[in-house]
Assembly symmetry: C2
Homo-oligomer: 369 residues x 2
């Protein structure tokens, strides 16, 4: 699985693996892919520094990258307290009532919560970058639009390629205009924030829209067949996130959540605003149902919703309240039915890829291959 | 593009083209694909007979098929009048108000309307089959569940393969249990009735679920690249519907609708219950917006919604009321940007397929191909 981009980055397989876990990112890079560590949960620079130290030591000298969540537009002088004040009391009451209905216990005194939202604040992301640029990262990805121009320039000065996610050709062209090097075409079926256009349609559309920029296909990719299909559509690589959640190197801190992921079918996800206020695909739970119920108060816009539910989500996760327990994940969750090592997943991807190429050659009547 | 199934059916390319237009079906079969005529609009057996005569004469001796819309469950003793009586007056008033708002004129005295719904009644579909089995059709497809057992048996007695559409692995397995020969895996991005699982995920899932039955991939396929990707995913062929709507052989009877289709992007469709009461992907219009608006009365379940809007849809189409004018079509509409002959579309598909196979072979390091 070699493309111009994978050769440029010096990796064996054009498989980019996004993960919040350093152990998974390191294993992806060691297996010949390109591990990308999600930084959103690191609100303290020292925590990120510790995990990047570990990742750098365990990536076997192979390249790796960092994914941040940084808004392109700066919101000046707005504090978390200002945003908190914009949340209606009725919505706060709905959170309390829903948690009470399921008997969800409180966090212990002084226990941290709410990293989901704070990691999205621009100053936090900039703090992450100050740390990350001391490491030999080869790629900086942004999950929320193009990064600000000075960040793009800073990355380019250090020879770091910049990638950004897009759910439409229009967004992809905006990234190109912002000087982005790689567009991640994130299809409807993907986990996390995603638009309505499916990978099969979106990938070639974005490839054409930003030519000659390289495009990574994301969404619905969890087997070697799907990798082959995505590369057939013109992508220079694939961007996989969900698939690693049930690897043995992942540390979800929740056996119940792992069980739910392993049991879920492709129809058990929902694209809901419950988590952040923007549509994000995740496991469908009684929590997402409550927010999507027309009888309820409905969700608030980003960033209010994320702030509103941050503590509740922490409590649900800590106490593993099964009916409410979820996570961002794509429709490919239906294929995640056993815990395997990252290397085993890679072996499966490469074997499946070769078989798929054999198959399409037979169909094309190219018997020599 | 040769698979076991295309060889069994004696066609050059494993490309199945669904279309309501005999001229398009004939041209697809002549071009080396498999033309499938949609029968739903033929309420009078003689009309279907006339068009099948024409198709048989113009298919160049190549195989073709028929697509009906037949419910698996029989509803005994219910007439169209019974169903009409179940429609609330508030919904009827909403139709009148919406049409009045846009100044949509009445149909002329005695002018027919409402074929969309009547073609779905089982007795009409059975009348269509009585006609169709006199022709050398090689495939009978059903768009609404498995056909009734006696219809499957009747088809098999005549050596006719039976296909049925499925939006989930569960539905596909039900088709297999009902003795269906071919499952059409219809992804989220497809035009018409469709589920929520995208083609990239759905195709391999259904291939595995019904193995060894052959699967056709539908949804998001409008280029040779996409054909190659779908076949890579394990399909034995592709099922294309939307792509033919803007061919020169198609007869939409509406230059305005053709213009809208040619201008639409991949984001200009919506999966709405406005047309039939079940979610169907179609052009997003002010008509679908009105039905999907939480401030409106909302849609009725199938078959009430189809019956409710049948006359209105006829009026909108006849008078080409542009803001309201739509049609079922998939996200691939973004690729339909010029009127071309069916043969030109096929040439493009086969060229694009070969290029896509070249590309994936380069990525796989198989330089000999």
């Amino acid at each position: 699985m070699q493309t111009e981009l994978s050769r440029k980055l010096g990796v064996e397989h054009a498989v980019f693996g996004f993960t919040p876990f350093p152990a998974v990112a390191a294993a992806i890079s060691r297996a010949g892919g390109f591990g990308v560590l999600g930084a959103v949960r690191y609100t303290a620079p020292d925590d990120l520094k510790r995990d990047l130290d570990w990742l750098d030591e365990h990536a076997g000298g192979r390249p790796y990258g960092l994914d941040v969540v940084m808004p392109a537009k700066k919101v000046e002088g707005v504090t978390e307290a200002d945003v908190e004040a914009m949340i209606p009391e009725g919505h706060r009451q709905f959170v309390r009532d829903t948690l009470a209905k399921y008997g969800v216990a409180e966090l212990a005194e002084g226990e941290a919560s709410g990293w989901r939202i704070t990691g999205w604040m621009e100053q936090v992301a900039r703090g992450q970058l100050d740390v990350a640029f001391d490491y030999p990262i080869k790629l900086l990805a942004n999950a929320l639009g193009s990064p600000p121009p000075d960040v793009v320039a800073r990355a380019h000065d250090r020879g770091v390629l910049v990638a950004a996610l897009a759910g439409s050709a229009r967004h992809a062209r905006k990234h190109q205009q912002a000087g982005i090097d790689i567009v991640v075409a994130q299809g409807y079926e993907a986990g996390g924030h995603t638009g309505e256009i499916a990978t099969m349609v979106l990938t070639p559309e974005i490839v054409d829209a930003v030519d000659p920029l390289p495009v990574l296909a994301a969404g619905g990719i969890g087997s070697g067949q799907q990798v082959a299909a995505a590369l057939t559509l013109g992508a220079q690589g694939v961007w996989l996130g969900s698939l690693w959640l049930t690897t043995t190197e992942a540390d979800l801190h929740s056996p119940a959540l792992t069980r739910k992921l392993l049991a879920a079918g492709s129809g058990d996800t929902v694209r809901s605003r419950a988590l952040t206020g923007k549509p994000a695909r995740q496991l469908r739970t009684e929590w997402t149902d409550a927010w999507d119920d027309p009888a309820g108060p409905g969700t608030l816009p980003m960033p209010l919703q994320g702030l509103l539910v941050a503590e509740a989500v922490s409590r649900i996760q800590k106490y593993e309240v099964e009916p409410l327990l979820g996570t961002p994940v794509g429709q490919i969750v239906g294929r995640m039915s056993s815990e395997r090592s990252v290397q085993a997943v890679f072996d499966d991807l490469t074997r499946g890829f070769e078989k798929a190429v054999d198959r399409i050659n037979r169909i094309a009547g190219r018997s020599g291959t």
